[in-house]
Every structure is written in C-alpha cells, then in structure tokens.
C-alpha cells in the first residue's frame, strides 16, 4: 500500500494526546480503539480528514476514489465561509472498474489539471481513499509532479477510510498540513500578538462570535486552522507566537509538532460558557506575556460578562433547575457542562466515551456526586438514562436527534451539523435562547397526547356525561 503504515502507528501513539499519557494507568484507550463491526456508528479516517481540511475555503478538495466517498458526502459540511465558496464544491475522480484494474494515477493527474484550469483554486487537497490506497496509487508522486507542472500547491492527504476513525483522520489532516503547507509562505508582517486557532471549524459561523473579541484586544489571529481559512494564512502559521487548540484533541499533533519545529507553545481551550471563555482569554494573555494585554483582557471580561448577565436575565428564570443529559465527545463533554451551569441548568449525565482521564477529572468536579458518567452509549442506553434521571432535554450530536425526537424529548444539536453558533459570550445567549425554545415549545403536549379514544372508558364516559 502506498500510504505509510508506519505513520499510522505513529499517529496512534500521538504523545501529545492525553489518552496515551494514561496508558497502563487509566483504562481509556480511546486513541487506539478499533471500531467494532456491527456496533460502530462513526465516520472513517477520510471523513475526519475532510472535516479538518474542507473548511479551507479557497482550496479545491479532490477525492481520489470511487463515487461513494465524495458522491454521498460533498457539500454537507456545516462550516461557513466569509468569502470563497470553492470548498463547498465536490470534486472526485469517480473511479470506474477500469481505473481500478489499470491504476488511477493518470486519471488523477488529469483531474487535477482540469480542476486547476477551470476553477483556479488557491490549492488542491487530494484525498487518498480506501480503494486508491488498496490499488497502490502513488499519491505523493502525482501531487508532486502536478505541483511543479501547474504552479498550484497540490497537497496529498493520506486518509484511506480503513486507517481508523474520524479522530485518526483529523490527525492525518494535521500531518498533511505540517508536511506540505505550514511554513511554506512568510506572512507579510508579524506582531507580538499573533496566534493560531487550531481545531475550530467555524460551524454555523461560531468563529464570528469570537473573532471580534480578539480584535478588540489587539490579538491577531494569524491562521485559523481551519474554520473560514484561506490557504495562504495556513501557510504562514509557523510565525505565530501561540497556538490555541480549541475543543479538540484531534489536531493535538499539530500543536505538539509546531512546538517542536517552530518553538510555538500551545494551550488547550474552549469557547463554551462564561468560565471557559474567560479562562481562554486570560490564558492567551498570560502566554503572550504582556501586562497591558492582561489588563485589556480583564476589562473586556468584566464588560462582556456584565453585558451577558443582562442578556441572560430573561432566560435564567426559565431555565433554572432544568435537567440536561449531555452526549458528546472530548472537550465538549465538560465544557458544555460549565456553559449549562452558567444558565442555571443541571447536567444530570454526560458521556465520557471519548474523554481523556483529564477530561473525566474535570467532569467529576463539575457534575457533583449524583451526576452519571456514561461510559458507553447507544440510543437505547441514552433513552434509559434520560428516563431514569427525568431529564428535560438531550444535548447531543445530530446523529442522536431522532433518538430524542422519536422519544418525544426536547433536543439541542451541539455537534458539527448544528445551525446555531454557541461559542463565545454571544454564543451563550444563543444557546440559552435555543434551549428555552426547545424546552418550552407548545408542541410537546401535543406529541405526547394519546388519542382520546385510547384513554380508558371511565374518562370518556365522564367527558360525555
């Protein structure tokens, strides 16, 4: 196989990842977990690589494989762009049986040419998939030749689906950026306040709730990796003073390797909830090491929290004491708890399936003694917990939307298919509004109401009488 198996092994053992630090001590081996046939529900490595790279808006994303990989998925990502729309297009070599017998390299080369000729993208990311890995197409060689020939950066992404889960694909995307993109262009200028945001994909435009804060503080976001990104910006990311990893262990390899290679320190933060947002800004200021900046941060925090508290008043009383079951992964498994508590809500259960030991420690602290930590999760288990805890609301990814709705339970989408931005101070108001709407909708009584003729005869008789 053309893609490098040694690299897969190295990515599985990513030393920056908490899951590995606890190897032998903690029991969580999430990074090494193999998908279970018949039970697995998540995406593949190619899915993960696309999630991490497609938000680069001025690049073309060309999937080298048969129609399934691109045909069933293109255009469906929820990350938004403030400009170019090339990333929303679907490009694929759409391999036929003949291509598989005779090899797909020539077709790929021509495909890259056709994409460059007609659409002039800033770069082309080419994704190796299961079938093209299996037939041994030399992706790196084709991309290298094409880069030289067409004068456009052609980036190979070695992401065959069978290499692992979505998480693994995220890391493979990170590797592609490290190997071929980051450090290839010098920024026009630098400032002492240049940071990169890594692992934030601008789902539902979340970045736009946070970027104005940085702007106010005089912090420049040099590269967004990759929400609403432009290719050139990612190229010059190596000149940042600090990497801020957002809600994601997935691209942790980028943080660690950029520290090794360029001496850029990294911190792991979250944009959800008052406490986390405050901490994020404070940590950035502390790391950039500037007293004035720290002062500006404190001022901004008191200003924003005062404004936020005002904006939340109408919701707090309506949400007070409402019970939430949270089912999501990684950093969100605790950061959303703190956001919920900001709103006066109680998280009665949360998932720890994809959480590291560090995540779990935080969850324990936030949940209190009665909180349930869900180790495994399928729809039935989730419904059992909701019933047991008498929860008012399920907050989870789109995949569980119908688990909740079919059980006539209010639902809030927190993952990548969501349509509302919840990040930053403004995001919390949005979240409050959405939860309020979900909980207090007049529909719940109707969808739970049995037909009058199924009510027992005594009641029927009484109502007639």
């Amino acid at each position: 196989m053309a893609f490098k198996q040694s690299k897969v092994a190295a990515l599985l053992n990513e030393p920056g990842c908490e899951h590995n630090h606890q190897k032998g001590v903690g029991k969580n081996k999430a990074c090494k977990q193999q998908a279970q046939p018949g039970a697995a529900q998540g995406g593949c490595a190619f899915d993960g690589a696309s999630i991490a790279l497609v938000p680069i808006t001025d690049a073309a994303h060309l999937v080298h494989g048969p129609i399934a990989c691109a045909g069933n998925s293109w255009g469906s990502r929820g990350s938004l762009s403030s400009g170019p729309m090339t990333y929303k297009m679907g490009f694929t070599t759409d391999l036929s049986e003949n291509d598989i017998i005779f090899g797909g390299e020539k077709k790929l080369y021509k495909a890259i040419k056709e994409v460059c000729d007609r659409y002039q993208p800033a770069a082309v990311f080419v994704y190796l998939t299961c079938v093209t890995a299996l037939i041994g197409d030399d992706l790196d060689a084709v991309c290298q030749a094409a880069t030289q020939k067409f004068g456009t950066p052609i980036i190979p992404v070695n992401s065959p689906g069978f290499a692992g889960t979505k998480n693994m694909g995220n890391r493979m995307a990170g590797e592609a950026l490290l190997d071929h993109v980051v450090g290839t262009v010098e920024p026009e200028y630098t400032t002492p306040y240049d940071i990169n945001l890594i692992g934030e994909y601008n789902i539902a435009g979340e970045l736009w709730g946070v970027l104005p804060l940085f702007e106010k503080l005089g912090i420049r976001v040099l590269a967004k990796i990759t929400g609403d990104a432009r290719y050139q910006d990612v190229c010059s990311a190596h000149r940042a003073k600090l990497n801020v990893m957002i809600c994601s262990k997935a691209l942790i390899n980028m943080g660690r390797k950029m520290e090794e290679k360029y001496g850029i320190p990294y911190i792991e933060e979250s944009f959800y909830g008052i406490a986390d947002m405050n901490r994020c800004l404070r940590n950035i200021a502390a790391k950039l090491g500037d007293r004035e900046l720290q002062e500006r941060v404190e001022n901004l925090i008191s200003e924003e929290t005062a404004k936020l508290n005002q904006a939340l008043i109408p919701y707090r009383s309506r949400l007070q004491g409402k019970r939430m079951v949270l089912y999501t992964g990684g950093v969100k498994s605790w950061s959303v708890i703190s956001a919920a508590q900001d709103l006066g809500m109680e998280v009665v259960a949360t998932s720890t399936k994809k959480s590291t030991e560090e995540d779990k420690a935080r969850i324990k602290e936030l949940l209190g003694k009665d909180g349930i930590m869900l180790q495994k999760g399928n729809a039935q288990e989730l419904l059992r917990v909701i019933a047991k805890t008498k929860a008012d609301l399920l907050v989870a990814g789109g995949r569980n939307q119908y688990t909740a709705l079919k059980a006539r339970i209010p639902f809030l989408d927190i993952n990548q298919e969501r349509h509302h931005p919840y990040a930053g101070y403004v995001g919390l108001v949005e979240m409050a509004r959405e939860i309020d709407e979900a909980l207090h909708s007049p529909i719940w009584a109707q969808v739970r109401k049995p037909a009058p003729w199924t009510v027992n005869s005594y009641h029927v008789a009484a109502s007639i009488g």
């Binding site: 198996q5 193999q34 998908a35 279970q36 046939p37 018949g38 039970a39 697995a40 529900q41 998540g42 995406g43 593949c44 190619f46 899915d47 060309l62 494989g65 048969p66 129609i67 399934a68 990989c69 045909g71 069933n72 293109w74 255009g75 469906s76 297009m89 679907g90 490009f91 694929t92 070599t93 759409d94 391999l95 036929s96 049986e97 077709k107 790929l108 021509k110 495909a111 890259i112 040419k113 056709e114 299961c130 079938v131 299996l134 037939i135 065959p160 689906g161 069978f162 692992g164 889960t165 399928n378 729809a379 039935q380 419904l383 119908y402 079919k406 059980a407 006539r408 298919e417 969808v447």
Partner: protein
C-alpha cells in the same frame, strides 16, 4: 431516439450520482425488521446514513462491518461474522441485508465463501435470512444498487409460507422502483387496495420511511415488507413493476413462480396512470370473467380524480407551454418527469443522469448526458426551471433559474417522506407546484 453521451473528463465536479450501496441500503430499508449492513469501512455507512437521515429526517438503522487496515489485508471474514453476531445480539433483526462496497470488492472478499462458512459455524442462526448483494461503488449508481438489492430479495428463499392461512383477496406484487418516494408507495398501496386487491409491495419504504411516531425505540426498520409477505411472493397473480429498473426482478419472479408481469416505466401523467388502473381492473375482472366481456370497473373516486387531473392540466397548461426545463435525475425518475413535462407542452432543454439504462434512448429530448452537476450548469443556462436534488441549489442560484427539488438528497425541504407525485392526485400536486413557480417567476419579471 435520444443519444446518450458522456463528456470526456477525468474529474466529476459536484457529483449528481450516489453510490450503489446507498441504493441497496434504501431498498433494504423497505423490509420490515431489517438492518442493512455495509461490508466496508465505517465511512461507507456513515456517509450513507447522514445522507438518508438528512433527506428523510428519520432515524435510519444502518450498520457497518468496520473494516480496518489489518482486516483489509487479511480479509473481511471475521468482520462480517462479528458484525452479524453483534447485530443479532443488539438489534434482533428478522432479516440481515449484507452488501459490499468499493473497498471489499476491490479487495476481492469471497462473499459466497464467507457466508457459507458463517452458516456452517452458526447453525443456531439457520432461521435468520441473510440477503447478500454485490454493490461495488465503482460501478453504476444508486438506482443500480437499489435494483440489484430487489433482484436479490426476489431470488432469495425465505422459507415456505404458512399453508393454513387462507387468502381472502387476490394478491399482486408491486415492485416499487427507486423513483418512488415513501409517499408514492403509500399512494400505490391505497390504489391497489381500492381495487379490492391485496398489494405485496417490494420494497415497501412507505412503512419505514414515511415519518411516523412509534411507541418504542426501534433498533431495526419499523415497517416495510414483512418476512411473511416475502414467503408469500409465489401467491401473487401478477407483478406490476414500477420503473424500468424493476424489469429484471419482475423477470426473476416470472422465472421462479410463473407470475406474469408488466413494467410501468412511469406512474405520473394522465396516460401512465390510466394504463396502471386499466391493468388493475383487468386483473380484478380476469378472476371472474376471463374473456373480458364485462367492462372493467374502476372505483368511482378515481373517475373523480381523473377529471380533477384533466381540469388541472387545463388550468396549468398556460404556464407550461414553451417553457424550457433542465433536468438532472436518475434514469427512471428522469424518464417519468421528462415525459410528463413534455406532455404538458414544455420543452426539455437539457437532461443529465447518473447511469446507463435502456430507457434513456427514449426520452423527449435529443441527447442525455451521463454526468455531473457541472455538466448541468453548462447545459442549463437560459432554462426557465431546473429540476434536480438540493445539491443543484448553488448552480441554480448562479444561473438565476428556479430549482424544483427532486431525487436524492433533498436536505433543505420538509416532507420528503410524505410527498407523493404519482397517480392522478400526485400529478395534480406536481403540476400545481411547478405552475406556481412559473407564476411567481412571471410576477417577479413583471415587477422589474
């Protein structure tokens, strides 16, 4: 005679087609108590699932054998076995539907051998039907995968029927092709019942994807063609195959049980529906009156609906005349839609489709392109209307042409499980939908 062309290019831009396994999954979702199982890597299932969930706004039970790098090298036998056993334990399906993907076809897993070994080592599961179909991603499109699945279903022996059951009504088999929505299938079911016949619909996605609330959580499909019905396939007096792609399963049924069949390549538009009802009435009559002496009887409600359709045709024809319409749809749906529009006086400007089909040579347009939405964009400029899936939204916007959504996926409109556009009533709905778009367009042009 329509020429079928495909443009010489190496890249598909904004693909129109989806893969065969997705089509197979959709067909198997029309069997009751089933979990469709993709033999491939996780993503094959996840992408298909996301697409179907967004289209139908329903929970969709799909499973994966979760092939990894190691199992891809060593072979998928263990994964198939483990996946089936896990499903049996957790989902308790009545039927397991297993199909391949590009990955496992390229690898060359010997599926017949794998299933034989599975049967030998798990005699306790002898009563569990496993329908297997080969659906490589690198061949054909969704419609082909759907048809291949139906072909395998009718060729599978689901065991003998309960002979003690006495059928009260004559039964007909309806092979419901991939051009039909759950709402369409429900409408067909109603029509057949109204004629006093018992419909055995295969696959019946109206039972599983019509969007209804169940009392309990479902681990498998909540409705659809039941195992008992599948055992009764040989009892049908006739097969009505809807969509040209259903011809081959209809032939299989004829070979196996001697059941005569008729293919209805479309079920929208006055003539097409007339033909269908005429056939139903003949089936009813032939039971009592083999020489057709009595005039066929059609339930009165269809007499009324037919007159309503004729009236709707009159009301709407002003807006359809000389309109140029561009279509990007799978072959069967393209055929039905193109002829309906043509018969309303509209002109088909461009037709783009996903895969080969004999029916493509008989479209009311000079040429049809097997291609993608980039092809549609190049061909559709200057049209009055585009009919395609939601993915055509941005090109329609760019060309300033209204888009009527049809096909898969439709993720930005509600009611895809409910809507029906066949039969007299469905045709009326379709004509009103499109007519209203033209009225709106006219008004906005006058305002300028």
């Amino acid at each position: 005679m329509t020429t079928v062309t495909s443009r010489k290019k190496s890249v598909a831009v904004n693909p129109l087609k989806q893969s065969q396994p997705l089509g197979a999954a959709l067909a198997f979702l029309g069997l009751k108590g089933t979990v469709p199982l993709f033999h491939g890597s996780q993503g094959c299932t996840a992408f298909a699932k996301v697409l179907l969930v967004r289209h139908f706004r329903e929970a969709i039970p799909l499973a994966t054998t979760a092939m990894t790098e190691v199992s891809t090298i060593l072979g998928g036998e263990d994964n198939v076995e483990q996946a089936i056993l896990t499903l049996v334990e957790k989902a308790k399906p009545e039927i397991i539907a297993l199909f391949t993907t590009g990955l496992t076809e390229t690898r060359g897993d010997d599926m017949k051998g794998i299933l034989r070994t599975f049967r030998e080592s798990h005699p306790e599961l002898d009563s569990l039907p496993i329908v297997f179909v080969s659906t490589p991603d690198y061949k054909g499109a969704m419609q082909d995968g759907f048809a291949a699945a139906v072909r395998e279903i009718v060729a599978t022996d689901f065991g003998s029927r309960d002979e003690s059951l006495v059928e009260m009504l004559p039964q007909v088999t309806i092979l419901a092709g991939s051009l039909l929505s759950p709402g369409d299938v429900a409408e067909i079911k109603q029509i057949v019942q109204d004629f006093g016949l018992k419909p055995l619909i295969l696959p019946d996605i109206s039972g599983s994807l019509d969007g209804h609330l169940e009392d309990e959580y479902q681990t498998t499909t909540a409705g659809g063609t039941s195992l008992e019905q599948l055992r009764n396939l040989n009892q049908s007096t006739f097969t009505l195959a809807i969509g040209e792609s259903m011809r081959s399963p209809a032939e299989t049924l004829q070979q196996q049980f001697g059941t005569n069949y008729e293919v209805f390549p479309q079920l929208a538009g006055l003539e097409a529906v007339d033909k269908f009802l005429w056939r139903l009435s003949q089936i009813v009559n032939s039971r009592h009156d083999p020489h057709f002496i009595k005039p066929p009887t059609v339930p009165n409600k269809y007499e009324i609906q037919r007159r309503q359709l004729q009236d709707a045709i009159l009301d709407t024809h002003f807006y359809f005349g000389r309109k140029r319409i561009s279509l990007a749809l799978e072959p069967d749906l393209l055929y039905q839609t193109a002829w309906l529009l043509h018969n309303m006086g509209a002109e088909i400007q461009a037709a783009v489709t996903t895969t080969k089909s004999p029916i493509l040579s008989d479209l009311p347009v000079d040429s049809v392109t097997i291609g993608d939405l980039e092809d549609l964009e190049d061909l559709a400029a200057g049209s009055d209307l585009i009919i395609a899936n939601s993915q055509a939204k941005s090109l329609a916007k760019k060309l300033h042409i209204p888009l009527y959504r049809l096909g898969y996926p439709i993720y930005d409109r509600l009611g895809n499980g409910y809507r029906f556009l066949i039969s007299y009533r469905g045709t009326i709905q379709f004509l009103f939908d499109i007519g209203n778009i033209f009225i709106e367009q006219e008004e906005s042009q006058n305002n300028h």
